[in-house]
């Protein structure tokens, strides 16, 4: 058996940071190969080198045993390598079929685009994948899951034999994950090589035959998945034993901090009422699209709502004013770190102190390093790893970026912290740290609302669980009542 794709002793540095050092592995035809590691372990860099975005500093890539040099993504595509990103990048105003045929459109004899063949090709590809998407509809409005399937169809249309999937399931619901896996298995069985990157171990064991583990830019091991338990994988990823992923501390539940009554927003959520007390962690569970983030963004004020009341520390909040919510003692760690949580181009210290810059100014002026001191203190408390505080926050790994977002809000000394998918896309080690932090904050009397799509996280961390389904509250469960089944049933509308 000869490998479709071989990575041989590859290294890549960005400035002083060695992102990947001497990594080697091979993808065989007909295998699904998992690539795992903590955030910052170098997985994304590997993906970008295979996609032709970055060039390795040293080492070689071999396709079908022959050495290749990619000068750009087009070369990687020509070599039969296709990458499916977590968030696909389709042209929203073009039709699905046009997206699939992009750069490779079938032509009529008059050198016009042959729409009929193009649509027929798309239909044929979808039939092969066993999914139903109308090829003539515009890509705008497709769910992320459907967009990924379109990307896969596009990869197939360009005869890709190596499919690299970079955390494709992060934004998918359970049913969508199952469908994606069915498609992926079919491709694998047809002889394609799949490289699958995920933080969810149950997905790796369900889909992959072999796993390559990376740590700190280095290759740890490549072994059959069946030979490793989840504990083994975690231990090799972090290089140490994990005490517990969900260290829930006992907290004294205090006064009601937040009371939401009858909150409505047309077409998004309706009749939302719940309370959060000091020292309590309340989880908002539900499927993607159930309206959890939307509810909390309306409570915080970055979105508007039509009717209902939000009472915070005994005072009614006016809607649509995040500045007033902040001043009253509310913080929101948003779902989308890159777009909402951080300003990637700005430095770490500017990001940490952004909501606080008014409070840090003396006579309206920011002189004398008050921002730097504050940022240094909070990044230290959260054990954030970085080069210098003046580095752009975009240079940090996902986990450390999340710590910067947390630092930014903890610095405002909130009474209520809303965390939306606090551990999405961050590594196991940092995940446990974030959980420990939330737990200890609650123990010190902070009220926490956590939106999470990860059931183990919801069950492990929450004192109370509010389950949303299609924009309304389907169930409120105590910690004792909650099981994976009871939450899932409520979320999916079965009983």
């Amino acid at each position: 058996m000869s490998a479709l794709l071989q990575v041989r002793d590859v290294s890549k540095s960005f400035g002083a940071v060695a992102a990947v050092q001497g990594v080697s592995f091979a993808l065989e035809p007909g295998e699904a190969h998992a690539l795992v590691g903590e955030n910052g372990a170098g997985k994304s860099t590997i993906v970008k080198m295979l996609a032709g975005v970055h060039r390795p500093d040293t080492g070689t890539l071999l396709v079908d045993g022959e050495e290749v040099t990619f000068t750009g993504p087009a070369d990687a595509k020509a070599a039969g390598i296709a990458v499916i990103y977590q968030e696909p990048t389709l042209f929203p105003d073009l039709s699905v079929a046009e997206n699939i045929a992009m750069g490779n459109q079938p032509l009529t004899r008059l050198r016009q685009i042959d729409r009929r063949t193009m649509n027929a090709n798309a239909t044929r590809l979808f039939a092969r994948l066993g999914v139903q998407i109308d090829p003539t509809r515009p890509a705008r409005g497709l769910s992320i899951a459907d967009q990924q399937l379109v990307e896969i169809a596009k990869a197939l249309s360009s005869q890709a034999r190596v499919l690299i999937m970079d955390e494709p399931t992060a934004a998918l619901s359970g049913v969508e994950v199952d469908r994606l896996f069915a498609v992926t298995r079919a491709l694998r069985d047809e002889g394609a090589a799949i490289m699958f990157i995920s933080h969810r171990f149950e997905e790796i064991t369900a889909l992959c035959q072999r796993v390559t583990i990376m740590r700190d830019g280095k290759h740890v091991c490549t072994e059959p998945v069946s030979d490793l338990s989840v504990d083994d994988m975690i231990r090799r990823m972090v290089g140490r034993d994990l005490s517990a992923l969900y260290p829930k501390q006992d907290a004294t539940i205090g006064e009601t901090v937040l009371r939401v009554e009858g909150l409505n927003r047309a077409g998004v959520f309706r009749d939302i009422s719940f309370e959060v007390k000091a020292g309590e962690i309340v989880a908002l569970a539900g499927l993607v699209g159930a309206g959890r983030s939307e509810v909390m963004q309306a409570v915080f004020g970055v979105d508007k709502y039509d009717s209902g009341t939000v009472t915070f520390l005994g005072k009614k909040l006016k809607g649509g004013n995040p500045r007033a919510s902040m001043a009253a003692g509310m913080g929101l760690v948003p779902e989308d770190r890159r777009q909402q949580g951080l300003v990637m181009e700005l430095s770490i210290e500017r990001n940490v102190t952004l909501p606080r810059s008014r409070a840090l100014a003396k006579l309206g002026l920011l002189f004398g390093g008050s921002e730097r001191r504050e940022a240094a203190e909070w990044t230290k408390q959260l054990q954030t790893k970085f080069g210098r505080l003046s580095d752009p926050v975009g240079t940090l790994s996902g986990g450390n970026q999340q710590k910067v977002v947390l630092a930014k809000w903890l610095a405002t000394s909130p009474k209520l912290l809303i965390v939306d998918e606090p551990t999405r896309g961050i590594d196991v080690g940092t995940k446990a740290e974030v959980h420990r932090l939330l737990s200890s904050l609650a123990a010190r009397g902070l009220a926490v609302v956590m939106v999470s799509s990860e059931l183990p996280e919801v069950l492990g961390m929450a004192d109370r669980i509010v389950v949303l389904r299609e924009g309304h509250i389907a169930a409120q469960l105590t910690r004792e009542e909650a099981t994976e089944e009871s939450v899932m049933y409520a979320a999916m509308g079965q009983s």
Partner: protein, 339 residues
């Protein structure tokens, strides 16, 4: 004397810092001024210095609020038309018997209102600033001609026209350097040392994240347009007094020189990056170059060619510099790996 401070390593570090864009521009500005002083007759004279400052006055003043606007990722192309309308109004008010002491504050307030209209269209209605201010560029200039027609008003009191063209104590430092320095300090502090300034960078780099951090994005940008309008009107007044001539076409085309200077100074047209010292250097570079060429009897068209070329280079060069840097780094790593 310590030798450590001139070790090769720290030397390279110093070069690395200078190799940033504003470093290059500041260096280039110094080079141009020194070369012109040596090579161009009359460039280094104190009389020419006075004219140089008077010539760059409109660009540098309008560039101050423009820098803040471009840092937020927006643009205001109507500034030269506000300048022209302010000049027209000044002449019209003067003809109608208002005193100059009434006219000056009145025109500045009208400028602020014109800026507020831009700000309202861009921020309350969410229209793209490029389109809005191209529209008001035509609209405000049109109004300027409605107000004053093709004529000119020239009989402004000498106390004022003389002050604008005069120098401090009769020396070589022109009086207008006082408002230039004062406003540059004010805008510099606002941009670089206030929470408001911090929020401008956040808005320019990612307005959604800024909104999530409690920054009032639309309101913040609205006030920048108001400031831009007020400053443009002030420059309209100074311009009118300098030439003792209120005309509807005063300052036409100035917006391009201003945007060129701001971009040349290292401000990113996409927002989120740039600083005021770089912009000031950009203005001085542009003005010194034009001044030197004009002393050499180079024609106006050729001056436009220089401005245009500099603008293209200012966008092109930072990219080339950074790609050279990365490729050099890669080569070094390869050598290190093979040896």
């Amino acid at each position: 004397m310590s030798d450590a401070s001139v070790s090769p390593r720290s030397f390279r570090g110093g070069l690395g810092k200078l190799a940033s864009w504003d470093g290059i521009i500041i260096l280039l500005t110094v080079v141009v001024i020194v070369a012109a002083s040596l090579g161009v007759p009359n460039f280094g004279t104190s009389r020419n210095f006075t004219f140089l400052i008077l010539d760059l006055m409109p660009i540098v003043l309008v560039a101050l609020p423009m820098t803040l606007i471009i840092v937020t990722g927006e643009i205001d192309l109507s500034v030269a038309s506000i300048l022209g309308l302010a000049s027209s109004l000044m002449g019209w008010f003067w003809n109608n018997g208002l005193s100059i002491e009434t006219i000056i504050p009145l025109v500045i307030v009208i400028g602020a209102v014109l800026g507020a209209i831009n700000g309202f269209l861009v921020n309350a209605l969410g229209l793209p600033s490029l389109a809005v201010t191209i529209g008001t560029l035509a609209l405000y200039r049109g109004l300027a001609f409605v107000v004053l027609g093709d004529g000119a008003v020239a009989d402004f009191p000498f106390d004022y026209t003389g002050w604008v063209t005069g120098t401090i104590g009769g020396g070589s430092v022109p009086n207008v350097l006082i408002p230039i320095v004062a406003l540059a300090i004010v805008f510099g502090i606002v941009l670089h040392a206030t929470p408001f300034g911090r929020s401008l960078y956040a808005i320019g780099a990612n307005d959604q994240a800024a909104h999530f951090a409690g920054i009032r994005v639309a309101r913040t940008k609205f006030w920048l347009y108001v400031a831009s309008g007020a400053v443009a009107a002030l420059v309209g007044i100074l311009w009118t007094l300098r030439y003792s001539s209120a005309r509807a076409d005063n300052g036409s085309g100035l917006e391009l020189a201003v945007v060129a200077a701001v971009l040349l100074g290292g401000v990113s047209i996409f927002g989120g990056k740039g600083n005021l010292p770089g912009v000031l250097a950009g203005v001085v570079l542009l003005a010194a170059l034009q001044n030197a060429l004009r002393l050499q009897d180079v024609s106006g068209q050729a001056l436009n060619i220089v401005t245009g070329t500099l603008l293209v280079l200012s966008v092109l060069l930072p990219n080339i510099v950074s790609s050279i840097r990365t490729s050099r780094q890669r080569r070094k790593l390869r050598q290190a790996a093979t040896s």
